[in-house]
């Protein structure tokens, strides 16, 4: 079962690459999304999913990430045919194949229980998304993809060094070195502390680069700014969550070694710093897609901060991981529609989006309220849970800073987005370059409905998954 989840999308990626008909190709992505959703539903209902001698294990946190990223992918997979119909120039063959390849690799990341395998998968995800970023073939996207590749690869090389350090920590303890997560959890109490500490820092910085935590986030605004909506969604909702999952796995090793306190401190610092940087750069941001990138930096910060707080914040963090993924889908897909309709993503040119593309405009507005933590949407609930946990555990200063940053972000993001949405479209941009279609609007509406539902009522099976995931991270 564990292997099937990886192989099916991989085969479909190859099919999408090989079939000669450009009109059929985008629909293979849709088929892939729907088929994968069915397979994942079966896997999540199965209590024990593993394969390849313990190399692939679907653990509680992996289940959460696999579940929501698959739903997110399904939304993207319906958007792809609508999107590509409005983009006749680009290379659809590579685009569709890479989108499905990303799905396969993302599934591998959620299941990989060997640190080496996980590393290979995360690096492969960087490479598979590079062609998606360069889809529009402009000089700007060239610059973005160059920075993305170089910074991402360097960060991830540091993570590999961290993996080796971790292996060395068990070698020092006189244990047979192994990078299988189960062996590491077992060896953790005996590991050399200094090597474990060094390993954790390297892994946090390395995978933190992939997540886009400040100050390693510099690739993110460029990449997200130039990425097509689908690629932005897959990056901001899917791959960053995969990198966060990798950090969580290392964190579990630290807990098993009794070093949870050591691991939490740098996470709090990185988390607050990311929120701060995001807030500062969002104010006066002229490019609404780049602004979404800073919003992603902010929310990655909230995630590591939530883990850093420890205890009850773990549930809020896992819930927030899911909320962030879905809301980013709403934002990137609707922002992509607006970008195409206006032919620009600068606030100088784009005004009155609500009048010109009413559905996408309304979706972006709702997405903005959701992501900034306004009730009744899901992120409000998860951010509130994290805040509550901070106060409940007596970490008042961190709780206060957390709230302050949320307000700063709300103001900064609101100023830019409202100027895009409100007002009258200027006469020079009155012509709608790419009209809204059912396929480019409905996926975002579906995702928004999920975000709304998660804020009002969490279905029991989802809550069971989240509780199990949070329990494995509380470090008791």
């Amino acid at each position: 079962m564990a292997l099937i989840l990886i192989i099916v999308p991989l085969c479909l990626a190859i099919t999408a690459f090989l079939v000669p008909w450009d009109r059929l190709r985008p629909w293979i992505v849709t088929i892939g999304g729907v088929v994968q959703l069915g397979l994942v539903a079966v896997a999540l209902a199965t209590p024990d999913v593993h394969g390849l001698n313990g190399w692939l294990v679907l653990d509680p946190v992996g289940r959460v990430v696999l579940g929501f990223t698959t739903v997110l992918f399904v939304a993207c997979s319906f958007y792809v045919p609508g999107y590509l119909a409005q983009r006749p120039a680009g290379n659809k063959r590579i685009f569709c194949a890479c989108v499905l390849l990303v799905l396969s690799i993302l599934t591998l990341i959620t299941e990989a229980y060997h640190l080496g395998l996980m590393w290979v998968a995360i690096e492969a995800s960087t490479l598979a998304t590079a062609p998606l970023l360069y889809f529009n073939r402009t000089p700007r996207s060239l610059e973005a993809v160059w920075k993305y590749l170089l910074i991402g690869s360097v960060g991830i090389a540091l993570a590999l060094l961290g993996c080796f350090f971790l292996g060395y920590a068990s070698l020092y303890a006189g244990r047979a070195p192994s990078l299988l997560l189960n062996d590491l959890l077992h060896n953790a109490p005996y590991m050399s502390r200094s090597w474990l500490h060094a390993a954790f820092i390297l892994l946090l910085v390395g995978y933190g680069t992939k997540m886009g935590l400040a100050p390693m986030h510099t690739w993110k605004p460029d990449a997200y700014g130039e990425a097509p909506g689908v690629a932005g969604t897959l990056l901001a909702g899917g791959l960053t969550s995969g990198a966060f999952l990798a950090i969580l796995r290392i964190y579990r090793v630290c807990i098993a070694a009794g070093e949870g306190n050591f691991a939490r401190k740098p996470m709090i610092v990185l988390g607050l710093f990311s929120m701060l940087v995001a807030g500062l750069f969002m104010a006066k941001q002229k490019d609404f897609k780049r602004m979404l990138a800073y919003s992603s930096v902010e929310h990655m910060g909230i995630l590591v901060l939530g883990i850093g707080l420890g205890g009850a914040a773990a549930f809020g963090t896992v819930l927030h991981l899911m909320n962030n993924g879905f809301t980013k889908g709403v934002l990137f897909l609707s922002a992509g529609n607006i970008h195409r309709a206006f032919g620009s993503k600068s606030t100088d040119d784009v005004r009155g989006a609500l009048k010109k593309v009413p559905y996408s405009g309304a979706l972006l507005l709702a997405g903005f309220f959701a992501i900034t933590g306004t009730p009744p949407f899901g992120p409000f609930l998860s951010e509130f849970t994290i805040f509550n946990a901070a106060i409940g555990s007596g970490q008042y200063l961190i709780g206060a800073l957390f709230l302050l940053m949320l307000v700063v972000v709300f103001v900064g993001m609101g100023a830019t987005l409202l100027s895009v949405l409100q007002g009258e479209p200027s006469p020079s941009t009155a012509k709608v370059l790419a009209p809204e279609r059912i396929l480019t609007v409905a996926p975002a509406i579906g995702l928004l409905a999920i975000v709304l539902m998660l804020g009002i009522y969490i279905p029991t099976p989802v809550e069971t998954l989240l509780r199990a995931a949070a329990l494995s991270l509380e470090g008791r």
């Binding site: 290979v120 973005a144 070195p177």
Partner: protein
């Protein structure tokens, strides 16, 4: 085994300095190629027994890091017709000094960390850290896209050396996966380098400065 491995590691360190001090692009690439070949030899010796696996990994390492990737970079270099790294952000002599300082610190740092019995006396850990630092210096101080790719390659070499302390823990498939990722990574970077050249008629990454804020 340390009798043979340590001198080879010193060769790796010397090659780091060679690459840091070289101004001709060709020398930078051949320096990294030589390092790849030496790494292949070390990988062969680091395995406890000369099995089929050790031989295969050594061969693949030499083929990729010593021949394949440098060949790809060399071709890219010929296509774009540049010879020298002009005006690096940090000059050649200062970067050599920084490299030397970094190597010293790496040795001190490796001494501060407790070393497992198996690798005491071996230069594996300090060489690894020093090579990683060399990669960083190249990545941050050079302007040409190809020099930056070589920097990434050398950074990876440093990580690879650290991996040799764990040869028994790294399954064969993962080692191959790491090498494959590296190859594909450099290949994709090569394609991008080519596009940068076509777009800007230059490989100077300072031209990549439209995206700000």
């Amino acid at each position: 085994m340390a009798v043979i491995i340590d001198p080879l590691l010193i060769v790796v360190l010397l090659l780091n300095f060679f690459v840091l001090g070289a101004s001709r692009m060709k020398s930078i690439i051949s320096g990294s190629a030589a390092q790849g070949v030496v790494l292949g030899a070390i990988a062969l010796l680091a395995h406890d027994e000369f099995g089929f696996q050790a031989l295969l990994i050594a061969l693949v390492t030499i083929t990729l890091k010593g021949i394949g990737i440098p060949w790809m970079l060399g071709r890219a270099l010929r296509d774009v017709g540049i010879r020298r790294e002009v005006e690096p952000y940090i000059g050649l002599i200062p970067s050599l000094l920084v490299g030397a300082l970094g190597t010293g610190l790496a040795i001190l740092f490796a001494h501060a960390l407790p070393l497992a019995k198996q690798s005491v006396g071996s230069l594996l850990v300090p060489t690894s850290l020093s090579t990683v630092l060399t990669g960083f210096i190249l990545l941050t101080s050079r302007r040409k896209a190809i020099s930056q790719v070589v920097g990434y390659l050398i950074l990876e070499n440093g990580v690879f050396i650290m991996g040799l302390t764990l040869v028994s823990a790294m399954p064969f498939l993962v080692e191959m996966g790491v090498l494959l990722d590296l190859l594909v990574g450099i290949f994709v970077m090569g394609i991008i380098v080519n596009h940068i050249q076509r777009e800007y008629a230059s490989l100077d990454t300072t031209r990549l400065s439209q995206l700000k804020g």
